[in-house]
Structure formats: structure tokens, C-alpha cells
Amino acid sequence: MIVQALTLTLRLAVTVSLLLLVIGIPLAYWLAFSRQRWKFFVEAIVSLPIVLPPTVLGFYVLVAIGPLSPVGRWYQSITGHGLAFTFEGLVVGSVLYSLPFAVQPMETAFASVDRKLLDASALLGASAWRTFWRIILPLGLPGVLTGLVLSFAHTLGEFGVVLMIGGNIPGATRTISILIFDQVEALNYAAANRTALLLLAICFAVLATLYGLRGRTAWNVWGWK
């Protein structure tokens, strides 16, 4: 049971953090460099999951992906089953929930790249695309790494959103944190303790690795060639 829950949790965390890498990098780039007037609006939306209770977020996501919403119906029409109470549904909720943890460190890292370097890149004839890949991304790499690891760790430990969207289906939506909740409800404190300790150890290991790496500069860690 614990292995199944752990596998599911790790699968969810890896999927979510990789998806957030793909979504987060362009979003963070846009937030760092756009001069659009309504940028603040997007920034506020991205940060919402930090302040909202997971139950609120989970509730709205559940409504949004449920069989009564256009999204839910569209998904059902192409896959044959609904999004709610499935692993895919969990992924959607978790991506939204962990979005700020991925985007904010990336945005900060991109924005803190010396503007003079970007000017120099343009003056040497480089397009914005080339400047991003050759200058901004390599120099912002510590922030990207931080975003990746934080969203991974944050997804590992999430509870409220999973409970609202996924329910408690073994092998599909029962993650470690749900399992712990189950075990405590069943007054099985010994099992709950083992599970909780495992999650604690994993989260600590992930964060310790992150901060250990971040102590060095990006180009020393990665040996840029």
C-alpha cells in the first residue's frame, strides 16, 4: 500500500515538475521582460495559489474539470472518461497549485541577469531567441533549478487539492499525504508515523540537495563548455 502510494506520489511530482518546467520558463521569461500594462494581472493570478487555501483552489478546479464544464466535456469527448477523480485531473490541479513555486524563482533569476549583458548580446547581432538560449537561460539556471525542485517538493507534500480533485482511489489518486490522513483516521498511528517519516525524509533530501547545489555558482556546478 505504501509502495503504491509512494510510486504514485513520485510519478505525480515528476510529471508536474516537468510540465511546470515547460510552462514556467516561457511564463517566467514573459513576466521578467514584458512591458505590458496588464502584467500585474497575470502576476497576481500566478501567485494566487500561495495565499488561497488548497480547498478553494481544489474546489474550483474540480468544478472546472467536472462533467458539467466545457473543459470537462471536451476532455471526456476525446478520452472517453472524465478528468475528475483521475490521475490526469490530479496533474492539472497540481500544476496550478505549484505554479508560483516554479515561476517565481525562474522569474527572479531571469530578471536579475544584468541588462547590460542583454544589450551586449543584441549589439553583437543576436536575436531575442538566441539571447535567451545563450545568455539568459544559462545565467538564470540556478533559478530554473530552484523552481524545478521546489515544484517537485511542493507536489510531493500537497494534500488539500488532491483530496478535493482526486478523492482517495488507490493507485490512481491516493498519494502519500492522503494515505497518512487515512491511517490517522483509522487510528493506525504506527503506520501513519512510518509513512510521515518517509515523506519527511524525501522532502528533506530534495531540499538539502537543492540548497547544497545553489551554494555554488551555476557555471561551476555545470562546468559550462
Binding site: D114, K116, L117, D119, A120, S121, A122, L123, L124, G125, A126, S127, R130, R134, I135, P138, L139, A218, W219, W224
Partner: protein, 373 residues
């Protein structure tokens, strides 16, 4: 090797700046041929803004910028070529070497359009020209100040820009390193013949480099011409102040004392002569001698046992306080401006009408002669 056609730079730019204290406007118009044109002015005068406009990092409100037949910016025709396609080489004051790339990668960065072999060849040429081949594998953090300057300059030049903009590129370097880099730059431009705008606030660099000087003050061109013309023109107070010489005196050659390392010069029509540093000059032509007001000593009686060669009497005609400085005007045949501290003024009890002795070291006299020297 293809030689780029001689292209001259035409600039007419007007824009409003939101400065730190109050907004002021930049409004200049000039043309620059191939070779060095020095943009000279105090910090905050708008020099860097002007370069930013030419490079396209900043869009001016109005104006027109062309290089040879190519229009880079024209507010009327709504042309605004992005910096990446202007072909303007701009060495930023901060150099902006990419910290995660080594010298060679930095230099090859601007050659993305070339084939691998061509890129290697061009990079190697410029590494050799600037004597930094042995540094090719080093990162910027592992370079000295002068080496970094060379690498940044090489990175800019390797793209073969049509115009070169240099923003106080050598300010922090010692004189020897500076002159070596400038020699390399001259060698490069002998082949490429592009206009080089060189921003500086150091008058030494004007004399060392300037074929032509454009003096800028508060966003306006206040004087242009040869370094000597610009620095001597007495009617332009702001330029004289920029140049750091409050006193610029018309002088004539009297005698040279090569052994002693000095020359004697007569000042204007006054009975005053000055011992100035022995300098190669055309003895038949008039001279100017610049003396900074802060380099003149004031004594109440004729001082003895000094190394200074110029000791002469005068009368204080006025004494004014400006901020933490006293400005005295002293008549000694000609009018000289002298700067003192309020403390010194007080302890000598100086006032208008007082008789004093002025003391000027030989090396405090800057000898200047107009035209090519």
C-alpha cells in the same frame, strides 16, 4: 580581404531625459568621418545617452541617424532599426563580457552567421591583433582589467561594425596599458576606416587621441574642433571648466632651457613670464598655457627656499565663496583665478585689495598649441 567603404556617421538627435535630479533634454547634431571623434563632457552631460541612441538601445523622440547610405533611425520616416541589425559596435562602459563564456566564446558570439571555419579564422585574427591568444580559454573573472578591456574590444571589433562607439573604455587603466590598447585599435582602424566615437571626461585622452573633439554640456554641443581649439576657446566657459583649466593664458615663447627641462614664456602683454615644462612646440606660433585654479599657492610675503619656479606678486581684486571653496581673482598683469579653502582664506586674512604672492609649479603649467602638433 574586403575593405569596408568609408562611411560617415550623421547624427541629429533630440530627446528628453529623466535625469536623477531634473529632466533635461539632449539636442545635438554632428557628423563624424572615419577616425577618432572625441565626445568630451562631464558625467551627466548626456554622452552615454547619445551613444545609446546611436546604437539603438534608446529611442530618441526625434531626429535622424545615418551611416553612409544606411538610415538607422528617422523619426519622420518612422525608421528604427533594432540594435541587433544596426551594425554598430558599442563597447559599453561596463564591458558586459558574458561571465559564463570564455574569451574565445565571447568573441565568437557575434559571428553566429558565419560558417565554423570562417568564424575560427576571424576569431583567431582578432585574438592575435589584440595579443590575447593565450587568454582564449579563460573566463572574464580570470582576467585582469586590461585583459578584460582587450577582450571586450576584440569582441566588438570582430563583427566588423560600420561605426564604433566607445564609452570611456580605458578610464580605469594605467597609462602604458592604455596606450598599447589604443595602438592596437589604431592598427585595426587603419584597415577598416570607420568612424569611432570615443566618450571621455579625461582631458589627457583628448590630447592623446583626439583628431576632433565635440564638447557636450547639459545635452548640448558647446564646442567642436581640434583638442587644442576646444580646450583653449576662452569664450566657452563650460569647456574651459570641463578641461579643468580655469586659467588659460595667451603666451609667447621667450627661451628654452633644455638642460633644466623648462621654457620661459611671456604671458600676454603683461611684464609677467612663466617657467613652463620643456615641450616640443613651434616657437614662432602663439601658445596657450593652462593653469588650474587649485594649483596656485598664495603667500603673504615672498617665499624662500621653494622648488617652484614661478613666484610673482599680485593684488586680490575679488573674493567670493562658492559652496566649500573660496574663489579669488588676482591681478598680476593678467587676471588669474585662484581657488582656496575658506580655512586658508581666514588664516591668511585675505580680502579684496590685499597684496599677495602667487606660487605656481612648472609642472602645473599645461602648454598647449593649436593645430596639429
Amino acid at each position: 580581404m574586403e575593405v569596408s567603404p568609408a562611411s560617415d556617421l550623421q547624427v541629429r538627435v533630440g530627446t528628453t531625459l529623466s535625469g536623477e535630479n531634473q529632466p533635461f533634454s539632449l539636442d545635438v547634431e554632428f557628423a563624424a568621418d572615419s577616425g577618432f571623434t572625441m565626445l568630451f563632457g562631464a558625467s551627466g552631460s548626456g554622452k552615454t545617452t547619445l551613444l545609446d541612441c546611436i546604437a539603438g538601445l534608446r529611442t530618441p523622440n526625434r531626429g535622424c541617424i545615418t551611416v553612409g547610405p544606411m538610415t538607422l533611425f528617422d523619426s519622420d520616416a518612422r525608421v528604427d532599426v533594432p540594435p541587433s541589425r544596426r551594425g554598430v559596435g558599442y563597447l559599453l562602459q561596463s564591458l558586459a563580457l558574458f561571465p559564463h563564456l570564455n574569451v574565445q566564446q565571447n568573441i565568437r558570439y557575434g559571428l553566429a552567421d558565419l560558417s565554423g571555419a570562417e568564424r575560427d579564422e576571424r576569431a583567431q585574427q582578432i585574438l592575435d591583433l589584440f595579443h590575447i591568444g593565450h587568454l582564449a580559454q579563460r573566463r572574464p573573472a580570470e582576467l585582469s582589467g586590461g585583459e578584460r578591456q582587450r577582450a571586450a574590444l576584440a569582441r566588438t571589433l570582430v563583427t566588423q561594425p560600420r561605426v564604433l562607439l566607445l564609452d570611456e573604455p580605458l578610464t580605469a587603466l594605467d597609462a602604458l596599458t592604455k596606450s598599447q590598447i589604443l595602438d592596437d585599435l589604431r592598427v585595426w582602424n587603419r584597415e577598416h576606416q570607420v568612424p569611432i566615437l570615443y566618450v571621455t571626461h579625461q582631458r589627457e585622452e583628448l590630447f592623446a587621441l583626439g583628431e576632433r573633439v565635440i564638447a557636450i554640456s547639459s545635452g548640448r554641443i558647446v564646442a567642436q574642433g581640434s583638442p587644442h581649439e576646444v580646450l583653449q576657446r576662452p569664450e566657452s566657459e563650460s569647456v574651459a571648466q570641463l578641461a579643468g583649466f580655469e586659467n588659460i593664458l595667451a603666451a609667447g615663447f621667450v627661451a628654452a632651457h633644455r638642460e633644466q627641462g623648462t621654457m620661459t614664456c611671456r604671458i600676454g602683454n603683461a611684464p609677467l613670464t612663466l617657467e613652463v615644462p620643456f615641450t616640443r612646440i613651434d616657437q614662432m606660433r602663439p601658445l596657450r598655457i593652462g593653469i588650474r585654479a587649485g594649483d596656485i599657492l598664495v603667500a603673504m610675503s615672498h617665499p624662500e627656499g621653494l622648488s617652484a619656479r614661478n613666484i610673482f606678486p599680485g593684488t586680490i581684486t575679488s573674493l567670493q565663496r562658492r559652496d566649500v571653496m573660496m574663489i579669488a581673482r588676482v591681478n598680476c598683469g593678467v587676471d588669474l583665478e585662484v581657488h582656496l579653502t575658506p580655512g586658508a582664506t581666514e588664516s591668511l586674512q585675505l580680502k579684496a585689495g590685499a597684496s599677495v604672492w602667487l606660487v605656481v609649479k612648472t609642472y602645473s603649467c599645461q602648454v598647449m598649441q593649436g593645430g596639429k602638433s
